[in-house]
């Protein structure tokens, strides 16, 4: 159950009909060309997501958490960040990964079961998916405190500053970890943007049953600002996140951004949302589609045309094909690699263990 539309008080810069809206505190700084780039991101991210969903249905992936409907929240927030910001995802941030430059093939390997750690987090400052609900908020606060100590916060030159953006859902706000992270971040004025994608459901539990107040208002109790933004409006998300990041980078402490959005698909491919929500509710949210409103705006503004859309369509189809092909060719994990994922220099004990295991494994080979 979501709140009635007229009761929603959030920052919106592009309404669902594709019209720009003024807001007293926030404005989108980019050009129409930037907006078109966001549209392309959203279309491709959605295509990655839908192809992965289809791959799961074909038996090629064990599981997939679809992000259908949350493209604006992810693309907008990710595009507001830049190096040396740290991006700490939960497990549904396929759009953020796309923006960070993670090859979508790498996203698939965890869900295909061929790898535990699918990409190095350092080069892009995009960290590994976290499947433990809310635990990554604590990691993010720790990273942010490290950035403070590394002198990456509050410098005169804003380009020298950085912050951590940590992604979590509405359900995670009920976790102790998230609340502890809020407290630590507030106490140390750590440069963290807590980016909560309120997609209305903690699997099947509606957010209204978990919080008596809108989530963004919780921040006030911890002593830092909280802002609610239309999570299906990529312009507003980017503007609000950019402000929040500047706030954090400048050493003013954490910000909670609640991106008010909707998970149009299932929680994961193992879930069946029709068992706990109604078709009318889904229809209401489909009218707020984050991609359609941007397309409408850009077409009406003349910034793009049908040919542009067709080109992106071809591109996304090629991307989907590449995913289909590469997914089945993901290399099987090798036992010998299991010992080299944690330590920079493998300790002798583990090295010996590895030797023993490989000898044991070799004893089984029948060739």
């Amino acid at each position: 159950m979501t709140e009635a539309a007229d009761s929603i008080d959030f920052v919106q810069l592009l309404d669902q009909a594709g019209r720009r809206v003024e807001h007293q505190d926030f404005a989108y700084a980019g050009t129409d060309a930037d907006i078109a780039a966001r549209l392309r991101d959203m279309i491709l991210a959605r295509r990655i997501d839908s192809e992965a969903t289809a791959l799961q249905r074909k038996g090629e992936l064990g599981l997939w958490p679809p992000m259908l409907g949350q493209e604006a929240a992810q693309i907008g927030s990710a595009r507001a960040s830049r190096m040396p910001d740290e991006l700490i995802p939960s497990y549904r941030e396929h759009g953020v990964a796309w923006c960070a430059g993670i090859d979508p093939i790498d996203l698939l390997s965890t869900f295909r079961g061929t790898s535990m750690a699918c990409w190095p987090s350092r080069p892009k400052n995009f960290h590994l998916y976290s499947f433990v609900i809310g635990s990554q908020t604590l990691h993010a606060v720790g990273m942010a405190m490290g950035m403070q100590r590394d002198g990456l916060v509050g410098n005169e030159d804003p380009d020298a500053n950085g912050a951590a953006v940590v992604y979590f859902g509405d359900g995670a706000t009920s976790q102790g970890d998230v609340n502890e992270a809020f407290i630590f971040a507030a106490s140390y004025a750590a440069p963290v943007v807590f980016f909560c994608q309120n997609n209305q459901y903690a699997i099947s539990e509606p957010i209204a049953l978990q919080s008596r107040i809108p989530l963004y208002r919780r921040a006030a109790g911890f002593g830092f600002p909280g802002v609610r933004v239309d999570g299906n409006d990529v312009l507003a998300v980017e503007a609000v996140t950019a402000w929040a990041l500047d706030h954090a980078r400048a050493g003013k402490g954490p910000v909670l951004v609640e991106a008010y959005t909707y998970r149009m698909g299932a929680h994961t491919t193992s879930d069946d949302p029709t068992k706990y929500r109604k078709a009318e509710e889904e229809a209401e949210w489909r009218a707020k589609d984050p991609i359609e409103r941007v397309t409408t705006y850009l077409l009406n503004a003349g910034a793009i045309d049908q040919a542009w859309l067709d080109r992106v369509a071809v591109e996304s189809e090629a991307l989907a094909e590449r995913l289909r092909a590469a997914c089945v060719e993901l290399p099987e994990p090798k036992l010998e690699d299991s010992w080299h994922q944690v330590y920079a220099n493998t300790p002798d004990l583990l090295e010996n263990q590895r030797t023993e295991y490989l000898a044991y494994q070799a004893a089984f080979e029948v060739n």
Binding site: G59, E60, L63
Partner: protein, 480 residues
């Protein structure tokens, strides 16, 4: 020719039911076109086609349940010779340009991943890259914007029509008030100790587990933990029959009580049987009234117990086994020449059983005097060890407590104990034949517990019947 095997659409599911086919033999299908709908233990899902081509064969009928991994459909991708089964990898190499989101400044010139047209088109849908057939777009309004480039997939996973049936009608819960509502927080300080009645017992799950394993009812276990919670120790104590500390008083068993404990425990080594008899004691009550009026009995307390004691002594004369004991050393039964008649007495210090020596040789007056003396001594707590020793038979008068009867336990070393219940006015059938009628009479229950090793059922019953006869008609004592 391609074969699509039933995938596991959930996590660790083993089988699924084929609900409906969305394609039939001869249909042209593209990659990601929906082929069929299946129902698993978790949900109803649609399965998209991994292949493009023509449906050659549907291998499983609707309504059938098949295991994961079972081939369910054959699709002719018109690349290989019909009928030849393919063991090649699902997809051969498709050359592409790596596309990631890093590129964002080249709006006008979007990099496009293009299939490598020069080769690797031997199998699979790679050959169809760039020419994927799509359903026509719907024209809606001035600006037609449908799901960009991915209609087929989106249509199968979007929420326009539910992917599954509603298994039940979900009733949305009303939103909570958006304003914080201030519930009173618990007051500081120690919570009340006592456990309210009707409240479930407070115990942690491991403690509950211990209680279940030991067969202990937690509601019967007083808690000694904080706030009256039940600890594992409490449960173990309860299981050992002990009483946990809370609210309990511990009394060291000393003296008389310790002796009672010892004697009664020792008595349980003896196989015992109990017989009952309900007796019309109206005659006894009349006799008592008579005796109370006589001068020689003046100042003596006369109760049914006196007549009962006398009756026992008389009946013992006819049934000597009742007044016997067992000599373990010689394995001999000792039939006592005298009746040392024990009377169980409740005293402030506990149960004592002093006995009237040689009671069988006493007349009624002597017996009454001895009884009175003994009761007085017992009440004063001045019973001497000699009064307690050498008893041969015991009477217990539970009637003074208003109870109807009981199964007494023998004094160790004796062969029987008799119990006198309270005397009540009760309807009683009198007379015989046409004279039969109900009258209100004084009635009491007597019972006899005997050592079944020395006294058999016949002996015990005869003795009890003799006592009952005298009690009901004291005049018949002349026969004894």
């Amino acid at each position: 020719m391609r074969e699509f095997k039933l995938p596991d659409p959930g996590e660790g599911l083993l089988e699924a039911e084929i609900v409906s086919w969305k394609v039939k033999v001869g249909d042209q299908v593209a990659v990601n076109d929906i082929l069929l709908e299946i129902e698993t233990a978790k949900s109803l899902v649609e399965l998209p086609s991994p292949f493009a081509g023509v449906v050659a064969e549907v291998l499983v009928a609707e309504g059938e349940t098949v295991e994961v991994g079972t081939p369910i459909i054959r699709i002719n991708d018109s690349v290989e010779i019909l009928g030849e089964t393919s063991e090649e990898p699902l997809v051969e190499h498709v050359g592409t340009t790596t596309v990631t989101g890093n590129v964002q400044d080249d709006l006008g010139e979007v990099p496009v991943a293009t299939p490598d047209a020069s080769g690797s088109m031997l199998v699979g849908y790679g050959a169809k890259a760039g020419s994927i057939s799509r359903r026509p777009r719907r024209a809606t309004g001035t600006v037609s914007v449908s799901g960009p480039a991915t209609d087929q997939v989106h249509e199968s996973y979007d929420t326009a029509t539910p992917v599954s049936r509603h298994t039940d009608d979900v009733t949305p819960s009303s939103p909570l008030s958006a304003s914080p509502s201030g519930e009173q927080l618990p007051q500081p300080g120690r919570p009340a100790r006592e456990v309210e009645s009707g409240r479930p017992p407070l115990a942690k799950p491991p403690v509950r587990r211990i209680a279940r394993d030991l067969g202990i009812d937690l509601t019967q276990v007083p808690g000694s933990g904080p706030g009256g919670t039940i600890t594992a120790e409490d449960v173990v104590t309860a299981a050992q029959g002990g009483r946990p500390s809370t609210g309990d008083r511990r009394v060291q068993l000393k003296g008389i009580r310790r002796e009672m404990f010892r004697a009664m425990t020792a008595s349980l080594n003896v196989p015992q049987a109990t017989a009952f008899s309900e007796v019309d004691v109206t005659g006894t009550m009349e006799l008592i009234e008579n005796l109370r009026g006589r001068r020689e009995f003046a100042g003596l307390r006369i109760s049914p117990l006196l007549v009962f004691a006398k009756a026992a002594c008389l009946a013992i004369a006819r049934n000597p086994e009742i007044n016997s004991s067992f000599d373990e050393a010689t394995e001999e039964m000792v039939l006592h020449g005298d009746v040392n008649l024990g009377i169980a007495a409740a005293t402030p210090r506990g149960l004592v059983v002093p006995n009237i020596k040689r009671a069988g040789r006493m007349n009624l007056l002597e017996l009454a005097q001895s009884l009175n003396e003994m009761v007085a001594v017992a009440k004063q707590g001045r019973v001497q060890p000699g009064d307690l020793a050498l008893g041969t038979f015991t009477i217990t008068n539970v009637g003074v407590f208003g109870v109807d009867g009981g199964t007494p336990i023998m004094n160790p070393g004796e062969a029987a104990i008799m119990c006198l219940g309270t005397v009540r006015r009760k309807p009683w059938v009198m007379g015989t034949g046409e004279d039969e009628r109900i009258e209100i009479r004084s009635v009491c229950t007597v019972s006899l517990t005997f050592d079944h090793r020395l006294v058999d059922g016949e002996m015990g019953s005869k003795f009890l019947a003799d006592v009952a006869t005298i009690m009901s008609d004291p005049g018949l004592s002349l026969l004894f």
